[in-house]
């Protein structure tokens, strides 16, 4: 059960929403799909779930082409669309039963599956409520429950945690983690910690183009070619004094005696900075080496004007 996207192009009018994107999600893998708003994440997912058809290129789910055999593909996929649309006038149990029936579940099997989803998604207390009476976090759980009702092998989740409070985010994340055992998962997000916590690999797109497709660790390494050190003095020295130190490429004055120093990754310049301070009778109050976070990687990859 894999997702294969090859040379995918989607045009809306004259605008290319997706421009020749290719990547693969292998069986059992959890892949985070990143990109700024409007980058084409949702469009890609809509094509993979047979809602839209590509202008050109192929999307294959488990080897089945989404344009040629949509009926079979739809059976394999559990999909949670962006903004989690729900029939708000239905009851939780009624809605899950309906979703199960649409997927061809019947009788005892259906009831058992609905019960299991209610238990798994923590909806036991809410199961007899109307969907419109539920809070956003619970609605999201119902959305996930409906995507999982037929035990799909491929799970496509479009921003499953957007708009939730931090506690709910953690709950939904745990839910995704426990539900996605032995499943192939593609989920989009712009919360970096989430991607770090859940994914094996990330795919980043920007302006409809693929900009990265790699393990999180190797992406971070790539970003770490230069080391950023924040140096703080109690009284401000001249900027030029710092930049002459061997290994320092760039010094940025942040004001109030704080400098942002960019240095080569393979040489540790911290002792040299300390020595410089003591030689010039400066009081060094802080020195901190920044780790490249997923945020800065994201920021770097999706800078406007890139590609």
């Amino acid at each position: 059960m894999s997702i294969l996207i090859k040379d995918l192009v989607k045009c809306f009018g004259t605008q290319n929403a997706i421009d020749s994107v290719s990547f693969e999600v292998k069986e059992g893998e959890i892949v985070g799909f990143l990109g700024p708003n409007g980058a084409g994440k949702s469009t890609t997912m809509k094509i993979a779930t047979c809602y839209l058809t590509p202008t050109s290129g192929k999307v294959k789910i488990n080897g089945l082409d989404v344009t040629e055999r949509p009926e079979e593909v739809k059976k394999l996929i559990g999909y949670l669309p962006e903004h989690n649309p729900l029939y708000l006038d239905m009851y939780v149990r009624e809605y899950l039963t309906f979703s199960g029936k649409v997927h061809g579940l019947r009788g005892i099997g259906l009831t058992a599956r609905v019960d299991e989803m209610i238990r798994l998604c923590g909806l036991t207390k809410e199961q007899n409520k109307k969907l419109e009476a539920l809070s956003k976090g619970y609605r999201q759980r119902v959305g996930l429950a409906q995507a999982l009702i037929h035990d799909p092998k491929v799970l496509i989740l479009d921003e499953p945690t957007t708009g939730l409070d931090p506690n709910q985010i953690i709950e939904i994340r745990n839910l995704i983690r426990s539900a996605s055992k032995d499943k192939t998962v593609l989920f989009s997000s712009h919360i970096m910690q989430e991607v770090q916590a859940l994914c094996d690999r990330v795919v980043v797109i920007n302006n409809g183009k693929l900009v990265a497709n790699d393990q999180i660790e190797s992406l971070k390494l790539e970003e770490n070619k230069a080391v950023i050190i924040k140096v703080e003095f109690s009284d401000a020295p001249a900027r030029e004094g710092l930049s002459v130190i061997d290994g320092i490429n760039k010094v940025e004055d942040m004001g109030k005696g704080i400098f942002r120093v960019e240095a080569d990754a393979n040489s540790d310049v911290r002792p040299a900075i300390f020595k410089y301070a003591s030689d010039n009778d400066l009081t060094l109050v802080g020195m901190q080496q920044e780790e490249a976070s997923m945020e800065s990687v994201f920021h770097e990859l999706t800078k406007p004007g890139q590609n």
Binding site: K46, T49, C50, Y51, L52, T53, E71, K74, K75, I77, Y79, P81, H83, P85, L86, Y87, L88, D89, M90, E94, F98, S99, K101, V102, H103, G104, Q146
Partner: protein, 242 residues
């Protein structure tokens, strides 16, 4: 298809829509048939149900678009259409399921008026002095007319995500299909084409059925108009893929 049908019908029954539609139709038709002196059977003096069958279509013209206006418009506005279209069901199953649920609701509204037939039957002098064949033909015509109006309503619901716009388009199209063609045909410019134009309208075939003559040509007209409109609906629903 069955799941969509059941879901939509439950939606009608769980909200007020079904009860309001049925009670408004019955109250309106009841007042016209028995109370308002201008149209009342009691004042008219003849044992027939002309009032129900001539005014029923005009009541439907407003009630049916009100039933169907939310069917696709609401799904598109709330985004649930995406959910529905990514489930393993075909476009046809969605359309037919929604269509049948609307039509069944219309049939539920018409069903209680069978009591009127019994009443008028009893009021006849002697009892039973009523054109039974005409009444049966008219009922078939009214239900089929409801079928066309429902399909027009579904189509209008799909072309916009605004329910009010959908309602207005549907009322207008129902009017054109019902009596618009006959009225247009009355303009003295068509020559021999006037008959053809009149035959395009529902009224021509509806009147033919209400004479008690159940002609396959008239039935075929109703069935083919419904199918054509639903086919058009299917094309519009499929147009997202273009």
């Amino acid at each position: 298809m069955l799941q969509i049908f059941v879901k939509e019908l439950n939606g009608f029954l769980n909200s007020l829509i079904a009860y309001i539609v049925i009670s408004v139709f019955l109250t309106g038709i009841g007042l016209l048939t028995w109370v308002f002196p201008d149209t009342s059977v009691l004042e008219y003096g003849y044992a027939d149900m002309e009032t129900l069958f001539s005014l029923g279509p005009y009541v439907f013209m407003f009630l049916i678009p009100a039933i169907t206006m939310r069917m696709f418009a609401e799904e598109r506005r709330s985004g649930t259409i995406e959910l529905l279209l990514t489930k393993p069901i075909t476009d046809w199953q969605i359309i037919i399921g929604k269509y049948l649920s609307g039509w069944v609701l219309v049939a539920f509204a018409v069903l209680p008026t069978v009591v009127y037939f019994w009443s008028v039957w009893q009021l006849g002098d002697p009892a039973g002095n009523i054109d039974t064949a005409g009444v049966i033909g008219s009922y078939i015509g009214l239900i089929l007319l409801g079928g066309i109006f429902t399909s027009i309503g579904i189509l209008s619901s799909l072309v916009t995500r605004n329910q009010v716009v959908s309602f207005i388009i549907a009322v207008f199209l129902c009017f054109i299909f019902y009596s618009g063609f006959s009225s247009l045909a009355a303009i003295n410019v068509w020559g021999p084409g006037a008959v053809l134009l009149e035959q395009l309208g529902i009224l021509y075939h509806y009147n033919a059925l209400s004479k008690g003559l159940i002609d396959t040509r008239d039935l075929l007209y109703f069935v083919s108009v419904i199918m054509a409109i639903l086919l058009f609906t299917k094309m519009i629903l499929g147009s997202r893929r273009w």
